[in-house]
Amino acid sequence: MDFSFSEEQEMLRKTARDFLEKECPKTMVREMAEDEKGYSAELWQKMAELGWMGLVFPSSYGGGGGSFLDLAVLLEEMGRALLPSPFFATVVLGGLYILEAGSTKQKEELLPRVAGGDMLLTLALSEPGVEYDAGSIAVKAVPRQGGYAINGTKLFVPYAHVADYLLCVARTREGVEPDQGLTTFIVDAKTPGSTCTPLKTIGRDHQCEVVFENVVVNKKDLLGKPDNGWVDVEKALQKATVALCIDMMGGAQQVLDMTVEYAKNRVQFGRPIGSMQALQHHCANMAVSIEASRSLAYEAAWRISEGLPCAAEVSMAKSFASECYTQTTQLGMLIQGGVGFMEDHDLPLYYRRAKATEVILGDADSHRERIARELLD
């Protein structure tokens, strides 16, 4: 057993923290929340130069050959800084999925461009009334002109408005088991027939509605096996869920740090409010909960890194993180009072983000149901 980060990982963490402190101040986070594109192309370029987009991909695809745990370290810092960028959509949802399920040709064609920061990807999965359940997916792809035509509406697709390619999960066969008959397509965002509309969300994090109207894709743009795509989607979702948990813990830790700092300095009734036991215990509860949540997240990340089965562990991490991050921001509000409620304070940014990530990739209840499935059925 070894519960420590490697020297390289510690170095990566430090580089990332220093870089993001300088390049991603909260003024920028706020600006990007309102920005049409939602990220800074200049910052994206600098991140690419640091090798971040390629970190987790093998060197044969122009990547840095890092592990999923290395990526986790980086994501924790991004979550801490609330970095507004299509990184998660491109590298985690898109890139890792292609790395897992793509053909050699697809990987050779797409991954080096992702690694170089020259291509943006995203995953189009959820739909109106469909969250992460295979059986309910209604967007259809039917054979046409030697390829397929896609019709239907996808929702909550992160950074779809700037993505070059969308990985779209669609139904290609009816009347089979719920998790059968699904196929994922690599859809060029410029293909005629697709319309992208940004959604106004609590996290102001640039999720979109994407409507497909007879969007024609080539047969070669199938990702993974036709009619049996859900197995790979599940794997991609497992990685993405753990990655999100780690991101969330970075944010939760930052909220705790800010809150403790405030409690040390804010004087009321002639003493720092941090000397009041009621508030001390809130802080201690936040610290214990974050430690527990982070433990679950890193254990799941490690299992993914090692290629071990991890369905239950992933859901444990997400069910815990979903509740931990939201509660942490609520307690942060409680302790920091009115000043923390002001939009020019950093806390509202985390408060919004926590509530968004609580439900993105599944809320606590749905993940507990997944755990139960693993344990009981």
């Binding site: 057993m1 490697s6 001390q280 201690a284 527990a292 069910s319 009981l376």
Partner: protein, 380 residues
Amino acid sequence: MEFGFTEEQEQFRQEVIDFCKAERGDPSSFSSKIAEKGWTGLSIPREYGGLGLGAIYRVIFMGEGAYWRAPIAPYDYGVTISLLGNICLKHGSEEQKWEYLPQIARGEIFCGQGYSEPQAGNDLTSIETRAVRQGDHYIINGQKMWIHDARTYKYTLLMARTDPDVPPEKGLSLFIIDNTSPGVTVIPQLAMNGQLTPQVFLDNVKVPGENLLGEENRGWDYYLENKPFYWNKEQGAETGTMRRIFDDVVRYARETKKDGRLLSQTPLARQKLAKMATDIRVVRFLMYRMAWMETQGLDLFNIGATTRVFHVEAWVRFINTAMQLLGLGGQLQLREKHAPLRGIMETLYRQAALQLMQRAGPSYIKSVIATHELGLPEAW
């Protein structure tokens, strides 16, 4: 990072499981058999009669022992190794190490904790029991509460005041007291969990000078340093106990219908079971992380506090949830005819309350986390 066991650790774990399954039926010979294997001295250095394998092996052993409900007395063993074992190894004289550590390693002695007094609970600086040096020995007078089984344990690690003229925490010392010494009177009190918790009265008890552990007036420092162990005494048995009860409850949920529907297929029960499983995972992780940090010689104060708070709260939540899942049947006591899980939950539920106050309750440790780990000002 590497959260898995090494091949040797996994082999050891399997050996412990096989042994517990084969031998647990005979409690009378169990202790001597594990002592023979050296498993009572897993983390005690080789030069003092242990196996010197370190804390991770100890947690594996305690965890699996508890899971298989082997008669390893995790509490007795845990309290002995985490108090006398640890402090003796760090601060004892060479003679004391030779005297006590091999006996602990062989599983021959248990040593309880004699810290609390009627007026000194979490606030141990208020200890009034006095130890006065007279030539080559000390004379001790006072009263102690909540002593671990002083009727059957051979020793008590006693904290007493050796210097009343300095600030309260500067005048305390630790003594190894033989519980059969003249002047020691034990009066048991019956606790809600059915255990007898003795009060101990010390009336001019003569203790040889060599039974002072470490230096005179350094008792408080040793106590502080040892807190992570003091808080987490069962040494990993906690994870095994939780896993075992969880598996029992899962079996029950799969076999039992409530109002016509299998409990395991009831959405609310499934949510509760999933939460229990998640809590177990966290406790296990924290216990092994703390053990790993011990093997690395790292400071255990913060991880010890976090582990304890999470474990206590998770444990109480866990037992409460398990009771809820058993429904009406949960009320039934051990070996009652209709009792689910042979009535064990009723006992465990009563025992669980102990965790909320024993060896500093979670409220106290949260204050410690707030001030020590987070750096908030002391409360007044």
